[in-house]
């Protein structure tokens, strides 16, 4: 096992301001950036604020920016950096800082509330649901989301344009609409709810110009743009401009009911 001393710059401060602080700290074999943050807490900065939980890439709590890239601290291994390089850790840029590496992610919880919930199919009781694996595969990909909010943080629609936050839900919640839309038994349409339209009108789907930044930072490797956002856009466009598609969906629904 080999140890070495690494140089770190960690942003410290609060809503009133702050700056990068220099630290020199031991690093051991196999460690991840979160281990180093914990070592700083235990030995040099006991009040250094950071969020974390599972330390295994499953809960999505320890999101921050390492050398300017949005990442999970627990899944960023020290071995990917050159030993001579100074590593910089800063809080997520798109959200207001609370303290040190902890930001106010309330925006995301607000947007979650604005997505209409799953509508259970009328007439099917618990235990009566039948769905086939090939049909649940697509929405299951989106349910792998650990809500780390890295995609929300990196999406340039809000990252550099605070004013867009009102109208735009961000990739995570557009993907949530797509997931519900692809749920084989979601009965939104029967209840008079057009999920494609809500994505367009209420979640701001039109702001997305498919630059795929969200997909690039997703620690779960979910193909957010290709599999969720683009299909959602295609559907919304169909609905909006193609009266035949609209009519067809009405007819099918009636005969199926």
């Amino acid at each position: 096992m080999s140890s070495y001393e690494a140089r770190f710059q960690v942003w410290r401060g609060d809503e009133h301001g702050g700056g990068l602080r220099d630290f020199t700290v031991d690093v051991n074999d196999g460690e991840v950036v979160l281990d180093i943050v914990h070592r700083l807490q235990a030995t040099q900065a006991p009040d250094l604020a950071v969020r974390w939980n599972c330390k295994a890439g499953k809960c999505g709590s320890c999101s921050a920016e390492v050398n300017g890239r949005p990442r999970l601290l627990c899944m960023t291994r020290m071995s990917v950096f050159d030993r001579a390089e100074t590593i910089t850790i800063t809080p997520l840029r798109a959200f207001p800082v609370i303290r040190d590496l902890v930001t106010d992610v309330g925006f995301n919880y607000q947007k979650a509330r604005e997505v209409p919930a799953f509508v259970p199919p009328p007439g099917l009781g618990p235990g009566e649901y039948r769905m086939f694996q090939e049909d649940v595969d697509r929405p299951q990909e989106f349910r792998k989301c650990i809500e780390c909010f890295l995609c929300q943080n990196t999406c340039h629609v809000v990252r550099d344009h605070e004013e867009n936050k009102q109208a735009f839900a961000g990739p995570r919640y557009l993907m949530r609409v797509a997931e519900l839309d692809m749920h084989p038994l979601d009965a939104a349409a029967e209840a008079g709810l057009d999920r494609g339209r809500t994505a367009q009108d209420d979640q701001g789907l039109g702001y997305c110009n498919i630059t795929k930044c969200c997909t690039e930072v997703c620690p779960e490797g979910i193909r957010i743009t290709d599999n969720a956002l683009i299909p959602l856009k295609e559907r919304a466009v169909d609905r909006k401009y193609d009266p035949l598609v609209w009519l067809g969906s009405k007819i099918r629904r009636r005969s199926g009911a």
Binding site: Q41, A49, W52, A56, K58, C59, Y129
Partner: protein
């Protein structure tokens, strides 16, 4: 005394994992205004870490499965110490709780005919675990989270306020249960972000805080698992049950050191993975205990045939209950047949095609690739035991989840004791927290309603004491203490080392006595745990406060483990290696030595905890009749058999 913000609720749920959210949903649906308080962000609770699945006898994969078979497996797994009425309710209600999740939007993996797929797991006679790949806990927490939001949307439509009837106070910590006489009157909490104190007045409080693993060095548990609910119950005057039973999951990662303890799901074995020692031998065949001899294969050939033809072959011994597998791995390593980093080998690479592994075990593939540079489709994993779950917990009424002795206090999920006896089967925790989370929320709501306007009052003196206790770390060393301020991180590390070395997987009398001495020293030093900085999101301060809980709970584990002079489930004594039928019907209860709730650092021998024994209720005859007589003879004392 600073002014403390106060609010009024019907039911307060402490913890927002599976049990807490299920309780909150139930209480709100039954009309109670419900507040949930959780230490992390909403949706990050430790439940997300659960991998394998939810055990429920839906009989989708094997038509012979029934609640009775599930009940039997659960009692066998717990070595018949389970609070049997809980095990019965659990086995009966688990299928409904799983199906209900589908109506809230959950998407489980499917069988060919479109039903919920079920997988094999240790100790379960039939494939029984509803799952989503190896991320079932995430699906569960997300479904409950989204159901919570759906209820809030309903409330918004009705009242114009999302949080009018169900509110989540995220990143807040409860430090005391408040009481009016015997009865619960509310909770005292602080907001982690701002450091501000607040009081929620409520006649009913549901504890759903999970476990205690952070008192051990090698653990699969997250920082939240500091035994808060266990300690809150003790401090409120409710006893804890059978705290000596701590489950060491057999397969945690052992390398690199920074990930030591992180869980490797049992699904790896359920889906065909095998354990080998450094000689390449499948050693589990040598470790099948007498009580399980008839149920497990004797040869590799028979074990391998079982995956295809479970009706005519017996199960592979890799699928014994967790306590057996953990002890076997421990013994192999001790005998010098371990892997390079002190574990054993867990191999799926020679058992399944790479593509099947990536599909069925995606998180494991990812975890080993990212954190250990190991490709599990091409080479074996190195694994060893890790502290995973506490079977002991708040002593509760089986039907209502009410804590004993404190009206208005409820407990569900890992923080509650009894359900799993001396050892929990994999998959039984997710079903446990759904079944008893619902029951706790239901009965808490009923209790609050029945009180009408006769609600307990909040005592200002208790609020003052709780504030002073919470602020103490900021003035450590300043009030003429006998020593310099202590670093809470150092104290925590010493506590973890103590519990790991002296009250770990294999226990000895002398070591546990030593542990009690060290705990007493740590307790004295913890009174001087000091922090730098201010109250806003200060992890040093949070840890200093959590230390009280970890020390209390650790003493319970050590004291109960010293008392129980036998080996059973998650309690293994080197000096008493056999299971003793005379202990089968004995519960050990831990209570606070000073019932006034004071925590003065008393002398080590006496400590803070008083232990009492009680005889368990005899198992109901119709439930006993589910077992063959020959099997019961192995567990029950003579007089129990002939009653």
């Amino acid at each position: 005394m600073s002014v403390v913000d106060r609010q009024e609720w019907d039911v307060v749920v402490v913890g927002a994992g599976g049990a807490g959210l299920r309780a909150a949903i139930e209480a709100r649906e039954r009309g109670a205004r419900t507040a949930v308080i959780c230490k992390s962000l909403f949706g990050k609770a430790h439940t997300v870490m659960a991998e394998g699945g939810i055990a429920a006898a839906m009989a989708n994969a094997n038509e012979h499965d029934t609640w009775q078979v599930h009940f039997r497996d659960t009692l066998r797994g717990g070595k018949f110490l389970n609070q049997w009425r809980m095990a019965e309710l659990h086995a009966q209600e688990a299928p409904d709780r799983v199906w209900e999740l589908e109506t809230w939007g959950a998407l489980f993996d499917r069988t060919k005919d479109g039903r919920i797929s079920q997988r094999n797991f240790g100790g379960h006679e039939y494939p029984r675990l509803a799952h989503v790949g190896d991320r079932t806990g995430l699906e569960l927490i997300r479904t409950l989270q989204q159901k919570t939001v759906a209820l809030q949307q309903e409330d918004f439509r009705r009242t114009g306020d999302h949080e009018s009837r169900l509110k989540v106070f995220q990143e807040c910590t409860v430090t005391r249960i408040l009481k009016d006489g015997d009865r619960v009157s509310g909770v005292f909490a602080y907001d982690r972000e701002t450091g501000r104190f607040f009081v929620l007045r409520a006649p009913a409080v549901v504890l759903a805080t999970g476990g205690i693993g952070k008192s051990f060095k090698v653990t699969s548990n997250s920082w939240e698992y500091t035994g808060d609910g266990h300690a809150l119950a003790l401090l409120a005057g409710a006893p804890l049950l059978n705290m000596e039973f701590v489950q060491f999951h057999p397969t945690g990662m052992v390398w690199p050191p920074s990930v030591k303890g992180i869980l490797v799901t049992e699904s790896v074995r359920g889906d065909g993975g095998v354990l080998r020692n450094s000689e390449g031998k499948r050693f589990m065949f040598d470790y099948v205990p007498d009580v399980f001899k008839e149920k497990y294969a004797e040869s590799e050939e028979e074990a391998d045939r079982w995956y295809e033809d479970p009706d005519d072959n017996r199960r592979p011994p890799e699928l014994l209950p967790r306590d057996e597998v953990a002890r076997a791995i421990n013994a192999e390593v001790k005998a010098g047949r371990g892997s390079p980093h002190g574990g054993v080998f867990l191999d799926v690479s020679t058992r399944m095609p790479a593509e099947v592994i990536r599909r069925r075990l995606p998180s494991m593939y990812h975890q080993f690739k990212e954190l250990a540079d190991v490709d599990i489709t091409a080479e074996a994993m190195e694994v060893g035991p890790t502290c995973h779950y506490v079977m002991g917990g708040v002593a509760v009424d089986s039907d209502t989840a009410a804590a004993r002795g404190v009206p208005g206090l409820y407990a569900a999920g890992e923080v509650a004791g009894g359900m799993h006896g001396s050892n929990r089967l994999g998959g039984n925790s997710l079903s446990d927290l759904l079944v008893f989370g619902r029951r706790a929320g239901w009965h808490a709501a009923e209790y609050a309603r029945a009180l009408a306007d006769r609600r307990p009052r909040v005592d200002d003196a208790q609020v003052g004491t709780a504030s002073a206790e919470a602020l103490r770390p900021f003035s450590a060393g300043a009030e003429g203490e006998a020593g310099p301020p202590e670093n809470p991180y150092t104290l925590h590390q010493e506590l973890q080392q103590t519990m790991n070395d002296l009250v770990g997987i294999i226990r000895r009398e002398g070591e546990m006595e030593q542990a009690l001495h060290r705990l007493a020293e740590l307790r004295t030093r913890a009174r001087r745990a000091g922090v730098e900085g201010h109250r806003q999101f200060n992890p040093g301060w949070h840890l200093a406060l959590d230390l009280r809980n970890m020390l209390l709970v650790s003493e319970c584990v050590a004291r109960a483990a010293l008392e129980r002079t036998e080996s059973r489930g998650g309690h293994t004594r080197e000096d008493h290696p056999r299971m003793d039928r005379a202990w089968r019907n004995v519960n050990l209860l831990c209570a606070l030595a000073d019932p006034a709730g004071g925590l003065a650092a008393t002398d080590p021998a006496r400590g803070q905890i008083r232990l009492t024994r009680e005889t368990t209720d005899p198992i109901r005859p119709d439930l006993l009749a589910l077992f063959e007589k020959e099997e019961l003879v192995k567990y029950l004392a003579e007089e129990e058999l002939y009653e």
